[in-house]
């Protein structure tokens, strides 16, 4: 009898440590499934005293005026060209949400920012995020109090872009540095350094004509593709305040 009792108590499920370990595992699986929302909300509270001040807000509004001027010119051109074409995405300025950057990872592999506005404030997955100058990225996940934005420089980011001067669509792919790659699926595209890049009117992810960047350098054509490095107008490593725009399909 004594032996049976001794054997049965030595089973792993009778050990408290095994259950503690299993509970930690379940908790971490929960954290993984919720995309770390508990952690992000916790970070929201502890980082609150260190949030950026209001001065950048004024700087941002100044830059926004310049951006609107460029954008209105582009829209005028676009309206003429696309009179007959259906717009795939539309964004509404009335739906914009101003948010502060509370975590910034703009180097290494992970290129993302975390904002202090989440699902509580109406931020939705897929919303676009703009800083002074132009597009920064898209909202990839939200928690109750925060939202995570994948930057255009992230290796996982791919968006359709438009080169206005040569009237051609391309694909902007993040490469893990500050200069994403523009891929043009035409070897003969006459792209030049300094060409302006905006979001593509044919994109299903972004509204048309959002300023993105300027061609910085051009690589040699490879097979049927031509690639170029793009210098982004909005600098994610400097921006403290951003605007979130909801997409209207």
């Amino acid at each position: 009898m004594f032996d049976i009792r001794r054997i049965s108590t030595s089973r792993w499920w009778h050990k408290k440590k095994s259950w503690i370990l299993f509970s930690i595992f379940l908790f971490l699986i929960f954290v993984r499934i919720t995309k770390g929302s508990i952690y992000k909300d916790f970070y929201y509270f502890i980082s609150k005293p260190f949030w950026p001040g209001q001065s950048q807000k004024e700087l941002m509004l100044k830059s926004l005026n310049q951006e609107y001027l460029i954008k209105s010119n582009l829209l005028l051109k676009d309206n003429i060209r696309l009179r007959e074409i259906l717009k795939l995405q539309e964004s509404s300025k009335s739906d914009s949400i101003l948010a502060a950057v509370i975590s910034r990872k703009t180097g290494s592999w992970w290129r993302q920012i975390i904002l202090n506005k989440g699902s509580k404030d109406g931020v939705e997955i897929g919303s676009i995020v703009m800083g002074p100058g132009g597009l920064l990225g898209r909202v990839k996940s939200t928690s109750f109090l925060t939202s995570s934005v994948i930057l255009l420089t992230s290796p996982e980011s791919k968006v359709g872009v438009w080169l206005d001067r040569i009237q051609i669509n391309g694909l902007l792919i993040g490469s893990g540095d500050n200069y994403p790659n523009l891929v043009l699926y035409s070897k003969d595209a006459e792209v030049k350094v300094g060409d302006f890049v905006s979001s593509s009117p044919a994109s299903t992810l972004l509204p048309p004509n959002i300023p993105i960047g300027i061609v910085q350098s051009i690589e040699k054509p490879f097979q049927t593709k031509k690639t170029a490095k793009i210098s982004l107008l909005a600098k994610p490593h400097l921006i403290d305040w951003v605007q979130i725009f909801k997409l209207k399909i």
């Binding site: 992000k40 592999w109 992970w110 290796p155 792919i173 540095d177 891929v183």
Partner: protein
Amino acid sequence: MNKFFKNKLSIIFFIFIPIIFLWHPNWLGILGVQPYWPLFWLLPWSMLNGSINGLIFGFFLGLILDSLTVDNSFTQIPGLLLCGIWFGKVKIHGDLLVGHFRYGLICSLGSFLCGTLYFMQILIKNFSDSTFLLFIPSLQNIFAEVFLTGFFAPFICSKLLRFFRFYREKSSIINF
């Protein structure tokens, strides 16, 4: 309360890894790249508790760090798993000075392993879209991370190892 904090010091440090990972202090980095923070905790933990504990907590670290990044296609788990197993086999060196520099070398190699495995995932996923040359910046990321991790490891790992050894409660170790 004080006793609780002393006993659970390693777990408290574990909880702070994701916070530092999110904080991403730019003034500590080079070219916007940070040291690979989870290795600083994983090395002393695995050295004291063995490969199995290293593997388990490497997996836990990978899970929690993956959940904080928005890249769904790539994972940090394989690198941290391998590092956890490897670090568990490393013995504490008697010579204090050699031991300190050894932490730097081990963490550098661990960071190189994790970085390379992450880079391979990016490369495999994007191979059809772009040429190999498009990912040259990734090599820069790996080497900057390796350098920084190796630079900070002797300071941080030796301190953490001393803390963990001093405050470790034998009953809290998971034995297999």
